[in-house]
């Protein structure tokens, strides 16, 4: 018997798993029909999921947690039984600000610490001159993008709450806002950073993979009742996603995957653009390119397994971002959003995650999921 599932997605490279699940026939093999519906905003994705117009969604991991806790604009408990990717985003600075960093350093910034420290000096100088603060564009109030920028700023001794401002900018408008000066930096996925570099509007300073190794970026989100009411369909969906994740991670499939995602009904961009992000090799400014093997990761390193410690980390980051006191009840509710029980039941997995550290931050305080307060306090100290 074939069952059918309606899945909402945003046209991004990290929608690769749901798209490949359908296009490569993995879903068909599981007797599942996936209907993919393209959306234009995360707010639409959330609202259509919680009001039943979608059965499942490609979703920002922090949005799934925030929605479940009633932080922001809705309160509906969601289930996350599968992580779709880690990394894939960049921090890009407007050309003028990037030049200011180069002037401070005497050369192009070479690593995140160096660029953040240079930015700190630029910010101090601007403050002394009475200039307005720098505004960073991020894709949503609750996003790994916002978290990454805050970590990077702290690396240079910049207070993310008082020294800079944040502004939500939908990815398709990011380059224009950088060019108009409404924002001077941003954190966004591909192809938007490359667009900024190609058009001379900005330069990439940081790959998200330089901040953390395996922070959850996008996830599969469901309504809780869907998990209860249709366990068999959801199990099929998870097995399908697992196959698709393996296929997407295999670099010998990247040329095919790039062509698939590039199609008009999905991302509607040039295949080459997609391939660059898949291979992790990007032009970062007019003269230099940089590459990272973990620029965008679909499988491995415990990425697909919905580790409740990751959900606790997301909650700690959301609370810290809003400067709200931690609440252990909320932390537990956040942990319950990630559903390893559903993943294990569907895939027959019985292994616990190997990683001691489920986030793999390269800088800043160590994360211990059993002591969120120590982590958040350390973040606040900068």
């Amino acid at each position: 018997m074939t069952s059918s599932i309606r899945v909402g997605f945003i046209p991004l490279i990290d929608a690769a798993i749901p798209i490949a699940a359908r296009e490569c026939g993995f879903a068909e093999r599981e007797g599942l029909q996936i209907e993919l519906v393209r959306e234009t905003s995360w707010a639409n994705i959330r609202d259509k999921l919680i009001h039943g117009l979608f059965d499942a969604s490609h979703m920002l991991a922090p949005l799934a947690v925030a929605t479940s806790l009633g932080i922001g604009n809705a309160k509906v408990p969601l289930s996350v039984p599968f992580g779709l990717n880690a990394n894939g985003n960049c921090i890009t600075l407007a050309a003028r600000l990037y030049r200011a960093l180069e002037e401070v350093l005497g050369h192009a910034p070479r690593d995140p610490r160096q660029s953040a420290q240079a930015l700190k000096r630029v910010i101090d100088r601007r403050k002394a001159n009475g200039d307005p603060p720098i505004t960073f564009g991020v894709v949503f109030p609750f996003s790994v993008h916002a978290i990454i920028v805050r970590h990077w700023l702290r690396l240079g001794g910049i207070d993310p709450h008082n020294d800079v401002q944040f502004q939500v900018v939908p990815p398709p408008f990011m380059v224009a806002r950088l060019s108009e000066g409404e924002i001077e930096g941003c954190c966004v996925g591909e192809p938007w950073n490359s667009r900024a570099v190609e058009s001379g509007v900005g330069s990439i300073v940081v790959f998200g993979s330089e901040i953390s190794r395996c922070a959850p970026d996008k996830v599969l989100a469901l309504r809780n009742e869907t998990v209860v009411e249709n366990p068999e369909s959801i199990h099929r969906l998870l097995r399908t996603y697992q196959l698709a994740a393996r296929w997407c991670q295999d670099s010998s499939n990247h040329a095919n995957l790039a062509n698939m995602l590039a199609q008009p009904e999905y991302l509607n961009v040039a295949p080459k653009t997609v391939l660059n992000a898949l291979s992790g090799s990007l032009a970062v400014n007019r003269t230099e390119a940089r590459s990272a093997s973990d620029f965008l990761v679909f499988q491995g390193d415990g990425i697909n397994w919905p580790d409740p410690r990751k959900a606790r980390w997301l909650y700690a980051e959301i609370a810290s971002g809003l400067r709200r006191p931690l609440d252990e009840g909320q932390a537990q509710a956040a942990a319950a959003v990630f559903r390893p029980d559903v993943f294990d039941a569907a895939t027959g997995n019985n292994a616990l995650p190997e990683a001691q550290d489920p986030i793999g931050l390269h800088f800043g305080p160590a994360f211990d999921a059993s002591d969120l307060k120590a982590y958040v306090d350390a973040l606040a100290r900068g």
Partner: protein, 194 residues
């Protein structure tokens, strides 16, 4: 006039925005404004300070509005999404029509409902108009292809117009295909044989 809620429409589609504005004005809402330029959106909204914001779902700018729930520095009054989240039927109806609305806390619910109903209605009208236009365009294009195919048959087989048409229709019926499909096949074949 003091208690006329101010309504802000955010829609990059000029025609649709005009249809909604007209609908609201006809329903007695005089205080309606429209934004199509969405740069510095939150600052523009703060300046206008509306009671109700209506935005189309095609716009990625819905995510910008999400920030209003966190940033109270920019927007003076707290904003909640219409309607209360328990009224799922209304929200579904609005989302299916392609519109969502945000409302300032404290505005009477029945008045907001009236405004949203009007917007949903007008979004539906616009969708219907767009669909009808699309159908009309398709019909016109199909007719051109059929005329062209008829011409090709007339020339190739020395038929008159009526005979060419009858031949196409008979072929379509025999093959269980639509007339337009047969016509397209003729036009395609001719272009390849040229």
């Amino acid at each position: 006039m003091m208690d006329q809620p101010s309504i802000l429409i955010i829609d990059e589609n000029h025609a649709r925005a005009a249809i909604i504005q007209d609908g609201l004005r006809e329903a007695g809402h005089a205080n309606v404004r429209w934004l199509s330029e969405t740069g510095n959106l939150l600052k523009q909204i703060a300046k206008i300070d509306p009671d109700v914001i209506v935005i189309d779902l095609e716009s990625p700018n819905r995510d910008v509005l999400e920030q209003m729930f966190q940033v109270s520095r920019l927007v003076k009054r707290p904003v909640a999404m219409f309607v209360d989240q328990s009224d799922s039927a209304s929200i579904r109806e609005a989302m299916m029509a392609g519109v969502s609305a945000y409302v300032v806390d404290g505005l009477r619910k029945d008045r907001v409902k009236h405004i949203l109903d009007m917007c949903v209605q007008r979004f539906d009208v616009f969708s219907r108009l767009t669909e009808e236009l699309h159908e009309a365009k398709t019909a016109l294009a199909d007719r051109k292809v059929i005329e062209r195919a008829k011409g090709i048959l007339m020339e190739a087989k020395s038929l008159n117009e009526q005979e060419a048409y009858v031949l196409m229709r008979k072929t379509a019926m025999d093959q269980k295909r639509r007339l337009i499909e047969v016509a397209r096949a003729i036009v395609l074949a001719e272009s390849m044989l040229k």
